[in-house]
Amino acid sequence: MLSCMHCGTCTGSCPSGRHTGFNTRRILRDARKNRTEVLSDDNLWLCTTCYTCQERCPRGIPITDALLELRRLAVREGFILPEHRKVSEMVLECGHAVPLDEETKKKREELGLEPIPETVQKYPEALKELKTLLKTCKFDKLTAGK
């Protein structure tokens, strides 16, 4: 990260930064001195992880990977957007970030597919196994908030 020459290729390549105030270069620079400020800023979650900045960085800095690392630090400090907390709860509860709904069940039947797909949703034992695994990783505690 110290090899960054602040050329701004990352910021200039960022699809999110084009439409918002998201500034990749500045986030990575500020993370070295004002870490708490960076971690608590909701803008940290404006990156779509498209990896364009990382691919184009003339110094070969793994920018997207670094940003993901900052997010993990933010989560450990309790900074999670409510919408993301909801997605996590969904996985904790039913094993999917996007669970099956009645409308899709009907669509599946129209296509001649089983209404419930061959995933954890169909196998209670598999879901139980997944829940045990998530608990072992303390994921429930991490996302429960402070």
């Binding site: 779509t48 990896y51 999670i80 993301h84 997605v87 599946r108 296509l111 061959e118 072992t136």
Partner: protein, 300 residues
């Protein structure tokens, strides 16, 4: 040929089952040995899980991988997000003994162990490497007279150091597969740009996500295409359902049909639009549906 298990993820079975059906029909027609992967879960979603906690991300991904290891089959995904999560996790666990030991320690609780015996494949990468556009062309029974805006999506090709699918500024392998169906892949401004959904942005920052999408849609409309083709159900959802949200937010009137590559290939292999779930999309473009029904009936 490689034996595969089909990893469904979340959006395909739970929102766009047409992609599941189309994929199964295509694989069957191409005589690819692929079976279901019972008990699989969320990959887990890279935007949230990889951004939250690496240990959990690796543990959940490895559980899915192990289900396929037990069957002695490589995993096949039809989603860039699932591909990103599963392929990256598989790679990290294979090359770093320390990380693997740590993950296996968590997995012990459910009587599982990551062995590192299989590969993770993406349907586009699989078709390109195992068939190639020429061999695929031989299978086509209904050449498609369609102009297409192809969206590669980010995690199919990036990070390029881990994907081995060539450079990322203007790749061509996916365009070749599209053109194998008879369709024409048109160039458009910012073709390689993200759809705006990934990294938890679609859920966490809706307005920004829709602005990025609107930019893509404007570029695609200027190219004058019949439809958008993608290889990722999350991009698919963003383009399809997101289009309605864009229209509401910006007062636009976009109605660009969206197909997953499995659905495009399915049409060219002779399956009808209703078998492939194309009409189940949120975007209902009557003109386009009429066109593909004519192609499917051999009238064009």
């Amino acid at each position: 040929m490689t034996k595969l298990s089909l990893f469904l993820g979340c959006i395909v079975p739970n929102r766009y089952p047409g992609i599941e059906k189309a994929t199964k029909l295509c694989l069957q027609k191409l005589e690819v040995d692929a079976c279901d992967l019972p008990g699989a879960s969320c990959c887990p979603a890279p935007g949230v899980f990889k951004s939250f906690d690496k240990a959990t991300w690796l543990a959940v991904a490895s559980r899915n991988i192990i289900l396929s290891e037990r069957m002695g089959r490589d995993i096949l995904t039809v989603c860039n997000g699932c591909y990103g999560s599963l392929a990256d996790a598989n790679m990290e666990l294979k090359k770093d003994p320390e990380i693997r030991a740590c993950t296996n320690n968590c997995l012990k609780e459910i009587g599982m162990e990551f062995k590192g015996t299989i590969e993770v494949r993406h349907i586009i990468e699989f078709l390109y490497k195992e068939f190639g556009s020429e061999k695929l062309k031989d299978q086509i029974t209904r050449p498609l007279d369609l102009k297409v805006a192809l969206h590669y999506g980010c995690h199919l090709i990036k990070p390029s150091k881990d994907r081995n699918l060539g450079e990322t500024e203007c790749p061509t392998f996916f365009d070749e597969l599209v053109e194998a169906t008879g369709a024409k892949s048109l160039d458009y401004t910012d073709k390689m740009m993200c759809c705006g959904a990934g990294g938890g942005v679609r859920s966490g920052h809706v307005a920004a996500s829709l602005e990025m999408l609107e930019h893509k849609l404007a570029c695609i409309r200027r190219a004058g295409v019949d439809c958008i083709v993608n290889a990722c159900p999350f991009c698919h959802l963003q383009f399809d359902r997101g289009q309605l949200a864009v229209n509401e937010k910006f007062g636009t009137d976009y109605s660009i049909p969206v197909l997953h590559y499995s659905q495009l290939l399915g049409l060219a292999l002779g399956f009808s639009p209703d078998e492939l779930g194309i009409e189940q999309n949120a975007i209902q473009n009557i003109e386009f549906l009429a066109k593909i029904y004519e192609i499917s009936a051999g009238l064009r």
